[in-house]
Amino acid sequence: MSVKTFERGVFLPHYKEFSEGEPISTIALPQEVIIPLQQHIGAPGQALVSVGDKVKAGQKIGESSAFVSAPVHASLDGTVTAIEPRPSFTGDKVESVVIAVDMEQKEPQWPERDHTALSKDEIKAAIKEAGIVGMGGAAFPTHVKLSPPRPIDTIIINACECEPFLTCDHRMMLERTSDLVEGAKLIAKVVDAPNVIFGVEINKPDAIEALQNKIAGENGLSVVSLEVKYPQGSEKQLIKATLNREVPPGKLPLEVGVVVQNVATAIAVYEACHLSKPLIERVLTLTGDAAANPGNLKVKLGTPISHVIKERGGVKGAPPDAKDELQMPPHLVGKVIMGGPMTGWAQSHLNVPVIKGTSGILLFSPAMVVESEHTDCVRCAKCVDHCPMFLYPNYIGLYAEMGNFDEAAEWGAMDCFECGICVYVCPANRPIVQFVRQTKKEIAAAKAAK
């Protein structure tokens, strides 16, 4: 089997063993869901409901008239109790619709239809109506991505799942292979792309086999095995590995005739087209060395992460108490992360909701938490050797630390996608990703001031 990859990058420990064997399962309903009106890159939505309204699962409750945006839907039947700013995973407060969930409710039934009979415009309309965004984390509205200004010849389904710990895409590839392939075909149809490539890292041989069996004999579909290397699932690196095309700095994949979509997104597209089902739930991985019962869970959007953690037995060694309160003893759990360990966000409190882009909830024991101070750069060049964008993280960090943001940008800060490798390999533990974010902010502010 030939295995492809990109240049540089880093080999990370996988940590997938906690949850990769766990079939997708569901958890009990939460008492309350918090639906942020903005869960995507683009314009925020306006609430379509008022406090006191009864809402049904799947009902659209927020929308914007802007093109680059996606509507949001109630994920469960219930009553709107508040429309107010609530903390999101980034720590910022986001205007959200809070719904008190009816404890007696049935899974909604979605009318089936023949998705293969849908036209391109009908598919795109269904995707927009369903509120689908990139579910790998970036959360860019999918219907926008599928409206490229130039021809696309290849759709790449990003099935790398290169972040350690996360296994939800892997499980979906195994359990929903057919839906994934159908979703990918729908996406390809929208942009008239003749080729569909499933890019899978070879630490998921069962997924590669399942996909190969499913697409056998189909024209234009192929599975490409990829080396297990981070960040293989970054769009530009994935395109380089599978097609040997390089997206120029500051440009999008469509520049080289490619659109990349994640596994969960493709399945959501299938559900939107086949069942007219809006995006109201997603599969995520609850895991980490401090998780009592790691697993891959289908969770209603808006569910507070505290509820997800509690339903899976809480923290290892500290189950929920007699009053069913979640216990988070500091000697057992040191960090809670939303997303993957390389690009995810550490959480300060646990009432933040699961949203469309939430691929994981990680519980780290205190032993996994790195808290040493950073020292001066020793110019070891390990960051330079590993940077998948061929930048100079050492100089970016040095100049940003001095406040010379123009020079930091000169050494590549604006082309950084914050994969975190430079920090991972840095022997001086320098927070280079923070320096990059600061540089981007300062440069944007300087541009705005002009």
Partner: protein, 342 residues
């Protein structure tokens, strides 16, 4: 509300770290220096132990002193003072007086490192800076300046260079006295760190294996010296006499190539820059050897090139991902990947 009263660490991504730290890297360098240190102790016995102890202890003390005076946090845990001290000792000749060693450590750790801002900010390799400083000061002291006369009486001569070094022997055309195999395995003459080429090669291989250094600087530096030593004069006769190998095994070339020129802080971070840096050092070493006296050529060459590192980095910047045109193919025929992260 659940989960309100909790203490969780908040930090920016990424949330994973490799095991690599500055102290662990410095310890790798110390381990890599162990073979040559042992050979030098075997060769020079007490003289070697004495110099190594004086250099390492004074390097540590000067770091403590300078940081205390400058009101900075102590950084002994990073072990860089120990590395500098040991490297410095390996650059000195047996019989060097204790106070010469202390003075060299003062210049190395105090001036070249701490006054420049501490580890990471030093422009010049500290150990080589210390070595060169005392080398340059020696004539001043040993020379005619009468004000130093009492000092000289008290301390004795600044440096004891009595033994003919292999390099000096080459210069005199008397290199038959030392066989290549002797020089490779172990032979007295020169500094502590010049006693065994094999021990240095083992140390360098260890650093390469542990990925603490890359091959570019040692290979380009040694390769350049080999080429120039071969083609300077009659290539066939040179090869027949083994002169290129003498140039590699003698006079601190291997110590310089594996342990000094590859110093993280004072070498380029770009791949192209590292190759240019290595070649330039090799050229300078041979110029010094052919044109000037046979001593300290390697130290001077590396220090001179240290000064050019920021310029080299700037001029050899690689293009960013996607900046170069790629040969466009619709779907590239599958071939096993050869690229590796280094």
């Amino acid at each position: 509300m659940p989960g309100q009263d909790i203490q969780l660490a908040i930090s920016s991504s990424p949330h994973l770290r490799s095991q690599e730290t500055v102290p662990s890297a410095m310890k790798d360098v110390l381990i890599a220096l162990l073979p040559v240190t042992l050979v030098s102790i075997y060769m020079y016995r007490f003289y070697a132990v004495f110099l190594i102890a004086v250099c390492m202890i004074s390097a540590v003390l000067f770091e403590l002193l300078f940081r205390k005076v400058m009101k900075k946090q102590a950084t002994l845990y990073d072990c860089s003072a120990l590395v500098t001290g040991l490297l410095l000792a390996l650059c000195l000749r047996p019989g060097t007086s204790w106070w010469t060693a202390v003075l060299a450590a003062f210049f190395a750790v105090g001036i070249a490192k701490e006054l420049m801002g501490g580890l990471g900010w030093n422009r010049f390799n500290p150990a080589l800076f210390g070595l060169v400083a005392v080398t340059l000061l020696a004539p001043l002291y040993v020379g005619a300046n009468p004000s130093f006369a009492p000092l000289r009486q008290y301390f004795g001569p600044l440096d004891v260079i009595t033994q003919a070094t292999p390099l000096a022997l080459i210069k005199q055309g008397a290199f038959e006295q030392l066989s290549l195999s002797q020089m490779l395995i172990a032979s007295p003459g020169g500094a502590l760190g010049e006693t065994s080429a094999l021990a240095l090669i083992i140390g360098g291989a260890y650093l390469l294996y542990k990925k603490q250094i890359r091959w570019h600087i040692p290979v380009s530096m040694i390769g350049t010296i080999l080429v120039i030593a071969t083609f300077w004069g009659n290539p066939l006769a040179n090869i027949a006499a083994g002169i290129p190998l003498y140039h590699i095994f003698a006079g601190g070339v291997l110590l310089g190539a594996f342990f000094m020129a590859t110093d993280w802080v004072t070498s380029p971070v770009t791949t192209k820059g590292q190759v240019i840096f290595g070649i330039a050092i090799g050229v300078l070493v041979m110029l010094f050897r052919k044109a000037l006296g046979p001593t300290e050529g390697v130290a001077f060459s590396i220090l001179i090139m240290n000064a050019f590192v920021p310029m080299i980095d700037r001029l050899t910047r690689r293009p960013k991902f996607g900046e170069l045109p790629v040969k466009k193919e619709a779907v590239v025929p599958t071939k096993p990947s050869v690229s590796k992260s280094t």
